[in-house]
């Protein structure tokens, strides 16, 4: 059975408290709108912490996996000295020139000619110029003297 409402309660309920002004509503709206970026900033903090943790894990994993390869150097590292040594053998040395000259000028010339053929970076476009083998007249004409 429903209890009949208290007349005083009914009378009190009929009284309306004063309403909140539009100005206050506007101020609340402004303050709450300004709150949104703050909440988003709080969301970014865990995201940033997570990213840093992931980066640290990746660095540790890279160090761990990369560290095991230190004992075995890459193949190309071992092949480089071999090629360099071969080049060194074919190249002339000052001592070889001195010995050839001591034996005879012809032998030196032969050595020079042979080494000229094995020079690794020889450019076929280059033209050999023997300026000091020209005659004086040819030099003067080259320089434009009359």
């Amino acid at each position: 059975m429903m209890k009949s409402p208290d007349p005083l309660e009914v009378e009190l309920s009929a009284l309306e408290p004063q309403r909140i002004s539009d100005q206050v509503r506007r101020q609340i709206a402004e303050r709450l709108a300004a709150t949104v970026p703050v909440r988003r900033r709080w969301i970014w903090k865990p995201a940033l912490a997570g990213s840093l943790a992931a980066a640290c894990l990746a660095a540790v994993a890279w160090w761990w996996l990369g560290g095991s390869r230190v004992d075995a150097p890459p193949e190309f590292v071992r092949s480089l000295p071999t090629a360099a040594a071969a080049a060194d053998v074919s190249r002339p040395t000052l001592l070889a020139y001195q010995r050839a000259l001591a034996r005879s000028p012809e032998e030196l010339e032969n050595l020079l000619n042979s080494h000229a053929g094995v020079t690794p970076f020889r450019d076929p476009q280059l033209v050999q110029i023997g300026a000091f083998t020209r005659s004086d007249a040819a030099l003067h004409s080259l320089l434009g003297d009359d």
Partner: protein
Amino acid sequence: MAGGSDHWTDWLDRHGPALLLFARQWVAGHADAEDVVQEAFVRFWRSRDSVDEPAGYLFACVKHCALDRERQRQRRSRREESVARPEGESLFSCRPEQAERGALIDAALQSLLEVQREVLVLKIWGGLTFPQIGHALQISANTAASRYRYALAKLREQLVEESIP
């Protein structure tokens, strides 16, 4: 939730007038009460997800902000010992035919003990249940119900006395 919606305007529409009336239990004027409600509502809205009983929490925020403001005001001005309401500022927006009776109820409300008046406001105009009132005021639901009954009895007595010339 009490309002059935999760937009702040719905909360303010539903509870705004009661919040204002509730704040007036501690602060002097309508403008001060609006400032209190504004501050409390913004605080409530930012932290509402972390509470079990948001409607009760909203009123608790208002009380907290109102008491804070009143303490600050009293620190600034020691001369006031109780809340003095500016003349002509009624708690209710009454129609002309209700004005006289409204003024009587207004005065009778002021004569109640604070602990009774706050329960009455939360129950009648806030629309809260006794458990919600208990949540808001940090008391048990039974205590809230008891204070409510005493408040109604006292109010009835006051209104009868005022009605008799």
